[in-house]
Amino acid sequence: MEQVIQQVVNGVSLGSIYALIALGYTMVYGIIKLINFAHGDIYMIGAYVGFALTTFFNFGFFPALIVSMLVTSILGIIIEKVAYKPLRNSTRIAALITAISVSMFLQYGLMYFVTPQTRTYPEVLPNVQLKLFGTNAVIDLKNIYILIVTLVLMVVLQYVIHRTKVGKAMRAVALDGDASQLMGIDINKTISYTFAIGSALAGAAGVLVGVYYNTINPLMGSVPGLKAFIAAVIGGIGIIPGAVFGGFFLGIVETGVSALGGSLYKDAVAFVILILVLLIKPNGLFGSNQKEKV
């Protein structure tokens, strides 16, 4: 029982990270139908900005979180303007390869400046551990911080998407780009906002992961990037609650598999889930079936 609670606690923390990254994936895919492979690397950059701020400038946890969200959102906008905008009307495959090239550029470009070595995050949060329900299952203060930050960001995101004009524009563009342009929505601006919000969430995930696991390196983004993408697909890509569900689901399944002794296979399990979901319900668990038009 203790084991189960402990694994759920760990799984929820990992799932929060996946969910935050998956949100950005799903928003970007929803709006420009591009698998933004560079998204995992924006998360990595977020972790490095957080590392620089806490180590060299002695920022606290929250200031570092907010500043690195700002930096990554600006980075997201720049990437979209420089790399994706020229290719908006090109083929899917060209856009995909561009996304991969941006991803490589960020990974290896940063590696050139910060060297490939692993960095250790300073202790920015007090190391407090609480026992749950009188059992030996331990919940770290970090777990609580991660969960709270994730939930707050998600509530803010829901508010932005459903209650503000920008959010309305984003939903409209995701539904039908041309029609929304005819209605007077500035598509370029809306896409920039989407990238900014998605990248800010990834940046937050980066700082959280740095605080939680302590170590970061320039290639840390690729695997969680793919996992977050799987999470987005599980929930139904383009659907925001789906990405959150997928993130938590994947996080808990993965920690569960590791706990049962299959830690070497945990990545394979994620991909098996992905393929099963794609085969059984290609539009994701939250997605509705779309009829193909001839």
């Binding site: 698998i35 390869i97 561009t98 090239s101 490589m104 550029f105 394979a268 991909f271 794609l278």
Partner: protein
């Protein structure tokens, strides 16, 4: 693919006249043989040293991979990000057979091609339901699963890899594998079956409505593509002595896809040119290891922005041009 009446008549005539011993075919055959003999001679005389030989092997393997992926992605329009998985299955099959079971290379190569094409069936059939991006992700997942299984299998060395594979790949094996791949795939494209594949790429629904068995041809494309990727894997394993699952990861699949897109989707000549150009670029960049990937990324990006259709588009380079050919090759989207 709509042919004008004239083109169709010409094609019928061509089919009727089809003989193996035409002048054109003899010329091509002679050229192929001449290149082989000249390079073999230069290798024997030591003018082409081992450094050049390694690069020739890399280029040859990349050509096989690119041409076979072009059949899947360029001609049939099925977006695959798991081509390296087929290569790894071939490499391990041949590696195990030659290194652990002491079989001759020919057995290794054939077994590699067959096991890889079986994997092609396994990946081909379930992905029939998927299209576009979803298919890409599913094939990516398949590739990662193959890699992780390889990492955790102790018989084949796990993450450390499989060592001491005998070096059987030489210029003869390499050259004739490349020629065979290009020959078979380019003839396949021109056949009835190949046209069915191209029809699927152009418009799957229309193709189905015209009676093309789309499920069969999509799987067939995966099987043939995987077959040659398996051969490439065997050549790789039996040249470099040593293979490990991580050499056939996601990035390797991307590298192959980049060659195909760079050369031009739906152009076999393009794949060959792309494989040569990008392999040379990659070799040249090895001098500056820190910036190698950065430059590679920038080059990739520039190609995609300025020439998204690739070097050759979907055109082919014809050695012996026919006069007055009106080829109704619709541009692919």
């Amino acid at each position: 693919m709509v042919y004008s009446v004239v083109t169709r008549r010409r094609r019928c005539k061509e089919m009727f006249d089809m003989k193996i011993g035409t002048k054109k075919n003899m010329l091509t055959f002679g050229l192929v043989l001449a290149i082989y003999l000249v390079v073999q001679l230069l290798l024997n005389m030591g003018i082409l040293d081992s450094y050049i030989e390694i690069n020739m092997v890399i280029i040859g393997i990349n050509i096989i991979l690119a041409v076979s992926l072009n059949l899947i992605t360029g001609f049939t329009g099925q977006f695959s990000l798991g081509h390296a998985a087929f290569m790894s299955i071939g490499a391990y099959t041949s590696g195990i057979l030659t290194a652990k079971l002491g079989q001759p290379f020919i057995v290794g190569v054939i077994a590699a091609a067959l096991t890889a094409s079986m994997a092609g069936v396994i990946i081909g059939i379930p992905t029939l339901r998927l299209k576009g991006d979803y298919l890409a992700i599913a094939t990516l997942g398949f590739g990662e699963i193959v890699r992780i299984i390889g990492l955790n299998n102790d018989y084949i060395g796990g993450a450390i890899g499989l060592n001491d594979i005998p070096q059987y790949t030489n210029w003869t094996w390499l050259y004739f594998s490349v020629v065979l791949t290009i020959f078979i795939i380019s003839n396949f494209i021109k056949s009835y079956h190949g046209r069915a594949c191209i029809a699927i790429r152009e418009d799957e629904i229309a193709a189905e409505a015209m009676g093309v068995n789309t499920a069969y041809y999509k799987t067939l494309a995966f099987v043939i593509g995987a077959f040659f990727a398996g051969i490439a894997g065997a050549l790789h394993a039996n040249y470099f002595y040593f293979i490990k699952p991580d050499s056939f990861g996601f990035m390797k699949s991307i590298d192959i896809l980049v060659i195909v897109v760079f050369g031009g989707l739906g152009s076999i000549t393009g794949s060959v040119v792309g494989a040569v150009a990008l392999s040379i670029l990659s070799t040249l960049l090895q001098g500056i290891p820190e910036l190698r990937m950065v430059i590679y990324a920038v080059v990739l990006f520039l190609i995609m922005v300025y020439r998204p259709q690739g070097l050759m588009g979907d055109r082919e380079l014809k050695l012996f041009k026919k006069v007055g050919v009106v080829n109704g090759n619709a541009s692919s989207k």
